[in-house]
């Protein structure tokens, strides 16, 4: 009980509450904004708040990668595409709630209850105590060592997945250009 009221514990709780609330609010904002540009900006906030939660869970390297790769590179690509296409307003709830919206709320609520019940049933008793960590837990050094020893196959497979995705992006772009050329010649 001494630990429960120490200054570090209270500070961690405050940071957690702020980050978790920002995370949930920006997640709801991504889904409810009608303008895709604002949705993408809200997702950047969501990813930043998640990075704070990762830091609290002693995952420094993953938090850094999250900010650099996700909130940086991937979201810039999203914003470029949204700017290229123009922001078409998408208004799923114009004219009151439809049966689709109600069904989606029901399905999402069912998924939430299922996750909570399954985790509670299978791991509920063991979640209250967590392992003691060495200081180096989650550091780039440790992640790198685990990556190239225990999980080398996953590491190499990831490189192939990224290569195939890059080729797929080029192929999709090239086909789209041919179609546009064909349309312009025909018209």
């Amino acid at each position: 009980m001494l630990l429960a009221f120490s200054a570090g514990n209270v500070a961690t709780w405050i940071v957690w509450v702020v980050a978790a609330f920002a995370c949930l609010a920006s997640g709801v904002a991504v889904v409810t904004f009608t303008n895709p540009f604002y949705s993408a900006l809200a997702l950047i906030g969501n990813l930043g708040a998640l990075a704070v939660l990762y830091l609290l869970l002693a995952a420094e390297f993953v938090a850094a990668a999250q900010v650099l790769v996700y909130a940086g590179a991937v979201m810039v690509m999203f914003l470029f595409v949204i700017a290229y296409l123009g922001s078409h307003a998408d208004t799923p709830w114009a004219g009151g709630p439809s049966w689709q919206t109600l069904g989606a709320v029901g399905a999402a609520g069912a998924i939430f209850v299922e996750i909570v019940v399954v985790i509670g049933l299978s791991a509920g008793g063991r979640l209250s105590h967590s392992a003691r960590l060495p200081d180096s837990f989650g550091s780039p050094q440790q992640i790198g060592r685990v990556f190239v020893t225990d999980h080398l196959l996953a590491f190499e497979t990831t490189s192939i997945v990224l290569l195939v995705a890059a080729i797929g992006g080029v192929v999709l772009g090239a086909h789209a250009r041919e179609d546009v050329d064909g349309l312009e010649e025909a018209g």
């Binding site: 570090g8 957690w16 997640g27 889904v31 895709p36 995952a59 998924i111 979640l127």
Partner: protein, 102 residues
């Protein structure tokens, strides 16, 4: 472990996943569906890292990094498809994109 226990993080993760699932089900713009998918993937990542912290093993973090790379690949292909759709002057509305033509 200072601060909230692992189950609080799992609660946030479950709520985020349900939010993303709601977005995928209800939105019509493929761009916003991709954004909601990202939320679902990140909810999975948060649960993986929370369990990694609880077990004291780094394997969950490795898994989260792999998910991140796969999500980047998914965004590349998804955005490529969306740009190709808009270049063919089709409506960016998943309710209207119902037929495949070879």
């Amino acid at each position: 472990m200072l601060g909230p226990g692992v189950f609080w993080y799992l609660g946030v993760s479950a709520f985020l996943f349900a939010t993303g699932a709601f977005g995928v089900l209800v939105r019509r713009s493929p761009l916003i569906i991709l954004l909601a998918l990202e939320i679902m993937l990140n909810a999975g990542n948060l649960a993986l890292i929370a369990f990694s912290r609880q077990q004291g093993r780094a394997d969950g973090q490795i898994f989260a990094l792999t998910v991140m790379a796969v999500a980047a690949a998914e965004v590349v292909v998804g955005l490529g498809l969306i740009v190709a759709i808009s270049r063919r002057r089709l409506a960016l509305d998943v309710d209207k994109l119902t037929s495949l033509r070879g």
